[in-house]
């Protein structure tokens, strides 16, 4: 086991509500005591619905947000203690791909400049060598070399996302954090980008953190899955375990809600329709955060906060798998 990222009991909080600028009246725990390891070369998908904290977790990994508790290690070093050349090296080695390929590319820069910008900022190579690097990067993501001389508006959504990926690859990073990289694309185009990322990971030995809400897409690319609900990781494990035999009742509901493009399969399956709405993350429920909507809720769930414990081949934070509690109940 050789983790590239070690996330140990990390929380990230924001000040919200009245007086946010003056220090904040209320705290929102966007990520609540997350613990996970990201192994070198794996593709970890972080999934969950709006407001679950998956994007905050991703941005914390690349150093955009600072943990308010816990410790984040990259390659054995505490990220918050990195300074000078070590910090610059971290920034080169961890890159990001964004969701919206229209907003994440500067419309006034040519594609060649966009892709070369990370090299320029980090003073890698000469103008000439950067030009050659751009041609190589564009080829890698399946764009013609003459794309370098055009502006982003000349490209479709799928092609723009390729440009964003080429830019993320420019500094030959170890890790790419991709935040909903295919959500804005039409389905016939999504597969192109998923297959590209999958291929690049294999060719370059990249570690990929794939943040997404679309579980069906995730299944095709991830080696492991972390499921988040209201800021917490509620289940984590190998893709085949989590999808094959989901343990947390939230994961079960989430998977059963995804439509299957087959009318026969749709008629046969049991769907778990969750009760009510997502509770406010500012004032989350006591005990298990999912207990207000859980069909298996029993007494301890109201008061005792579950921790990730082994359940099947994976970990789930659910009292159903805690034998001591089961016997006491």
């Amino acid at each position: 086991m050789d983790p590239i990222f070690e996330v140990d009991d990390v929380s990230v909080e924001f000040n919200v509500g009245a007086g946010a600028f003056a220090g904040g009246a209320q705290k929102l725990l966007a990520v609540d005591r997350a613990t996970l390891r990201i192994e070198r070369g794996e593709c970890l998908a972080v999934v969950g619905e709006s407001g679950c904290g998956k994007t905050t977790l991703g941005r914390t990994l690349i150093g955009l947000y600072k943990p308010s508790r816990g410790r984040l290690e990259f390659d054995g070093k505490d990220v918050s203690a990195l300074r000078g050349e070590e910090l610059r090296s971290f920034r080169r080695r961890v890159q990001m791909v964004f969701q919206d390929p229209h907003a994440s590319l500067n419309p006034r820069m040519k594609v060649g400049e966009i892709v070369a910008e990370p090299l320029r900022v980090h003073r890698v190579g000469t103008a000439k060598s950067r030009k050659a690097a751009v041609a190589d990067l564009l080829g890698r993501v399946g764009l013609p070399a003459d794309a370098a001389n055009r502006f982003p508006h000349a490209f479709s959504g799928g092609q723009r996302q390729r440009i964003g990926i080429a830019r993320a690859l420019a500094l030959q990073p170890d890790v790419i954090v991709a935040d909903e990289p295919v959500s804005a694309l039409d389905v016939s185009i999504q597969a192109q980008v998923v297959n590209l990322l999958k291929g690049l990971r294999a060719q370059l030995g990249l570690t990929l953190v794939f943040i997404a809400h679309d579980l069906a897409v995730v299944r095709y690319i991830a080696t492991r899955i972390a499921v988040m609900y209201l800021g917490q990781i509620v289940e984590i494990g190998r893709t085949e375990d989590v999808f094959g035999a989901p343990k947390h009742p939230y994961t079960q509901a989430l998977l059963s809600a995804v439509p299957i493009p087959d009318p026969d399969a749709e008629r046969m399956r049991r769907r778990i329709i969750l009760k009510g709405d997502l509770p406010s993350p500012i004032n989350p429920p006591s005990g298990c955060r999912f207990h207000t909507r859980c069909e298996h809720c029993f007494a301890p769930c109201l008061t005792v906060e579950p921790r990730l414990i082994p359940a099947g081949g994976q970990l789930a934070s659910c009292h159903l798998y805690d034998q001591a509690l089961e016997q006491a109940a």
Partner: protein, 323 residues
């Protein structure tokens, strides 16, 4: 309630541009019977929303219906004056949009937006309409309905807002409900709730439901009949089971194969359709799909294939069907 449903024939809508009028949808024909769910499925720019907006006459200013009939019983909505349309829209044909944050009026309470239609279309007194509004909200699964009618749209979550929007659409007891991507802005567990609600109300009321979506999975869950749209035209139409079991058009096949699924083994790679959909103002000659089609031959480059019903109930617009 009339049992005629909605019958659209040869509908064409054009958009005025600097370079003259450009058809955004052409030759759209379908029948939606009471109690039936017709799904129009396609990707961005395929014309599915334009079809919906043409029916209820809520098109952007630069667009207008240029040809065709929109028959609701024995009335042709395409030829109805605006005044007549106002008594149909919201009354006999109602609509639910994708984004309930912008489709609801932020300045009016949920209750007022519910009673407005009932007072106008059904002639109910404000007091009666108000009681019905509370009952209707409860029926679509809004908890504490009596308190919620006093609230404004921004005070509701996305899922509850979409429920309220559905209640408003149902308030005048329409024969036809048009829902344009009603769950696209919602999370998947909320989507499951809203789809269940739409299916239940449609069954209970015997409405015709025209459901517009880009999500083939939603189609599989909801549709009686499916129309697949590409570049402004219906390229294939069939009962849902038939379409999924035996897709004929290369675009439909590509679309079904490119959808990631939760229930297949992962040895088969996710396939994609090469290239991108064409711009509607600059369609290729012949079949609009030909630049992306794996099976194209010379005829496809010059001659646009008409939608022909070679097999009963399953028209397809593709030259391969003649081979």
């Amino acid at each position: 309630m009339s049992d005629a449903g909605l019958d659209v024939r040869g509908l064409q809508t054009v958009l005025s541009t600097g370079g003259g009028p450009v058809p955004v949808i052409s030759d759209i024909s379908f029948t939606l019977r009471p109690g039936e769910t017709l799904c129009l499925v396609g990707e961005s720019g395929s014309g599915k929303s334009m079809t919906a907006l043409s029916i209820v006459r809520l098109l952007p200013a630069a667009a207008r219906v240029n040809a065709g009939e929109i028959l609701l019983g024995d009335i042709d909505l395409a030829r109805l004056p605006d005044s007549g349309m106002r008594s149909v829209r919201g009354r006999r044909v109602a609509m639910v949009f994708q984004d309930s944050m912008t489709s609801l009026n932020p300045l009016l309470t949920i209750g007022r937006q519910l009673t407005e239609g009932m007072e106008l279309h059904l002639g109910l007194s404000p007091a009666v309409a108000r009681e019905r509004a509370v009952a209707l909200l409860a029926q679509v699964g809004v908890p504490a309905a009596r308190e919620r009618v006093e609230q404004y749209p921004h005070q509701l979550s996305g899922g509850l807002r979409q429920r309220a929007a559905i209640a408003i659409a149902l308030s005048a007891e329409p024969e036809i409900l048009i829902a344009d991507e009603p769950t696209t802005a919602l999370d998947v567990t909320t989507q499951a709730q809203i789809l269940e609600l739409l299916a239940r109300e449609q069954q209970r009321r015997g409405m015709g439901l025209l459901l517009i979506t880009h999500d083939v999975g939603v189609v599989a869950r909801m549709a009686t009949t499916v129309g697949v749209m590409y570049a402004g035209r219906i390229v294939e139409k069939a009962p849902s089971d038939m379409l999924f079991r035996d897709p004929r058009h290369p675009y439909t096949r590509g679309l079904l194969k490119s959808v990631p699924r939760m229930d297949t083994d992962l040895t088969a790679p996710l396939t994609s359709i090469p290239g991108t959909p064409p711009a509607i103002a600059n369609l290729p000659e012949g079949c609009s799909f030909n630049p992306r089609c794996p099976s194209r031959f010379d005829r496809c480059l010059t001659e646009r294939p008409p939608l022909i019903e070679r097999k009963a109930g399953h028209p397809v617009a593709c030259h391969l069907e003649d081979a």
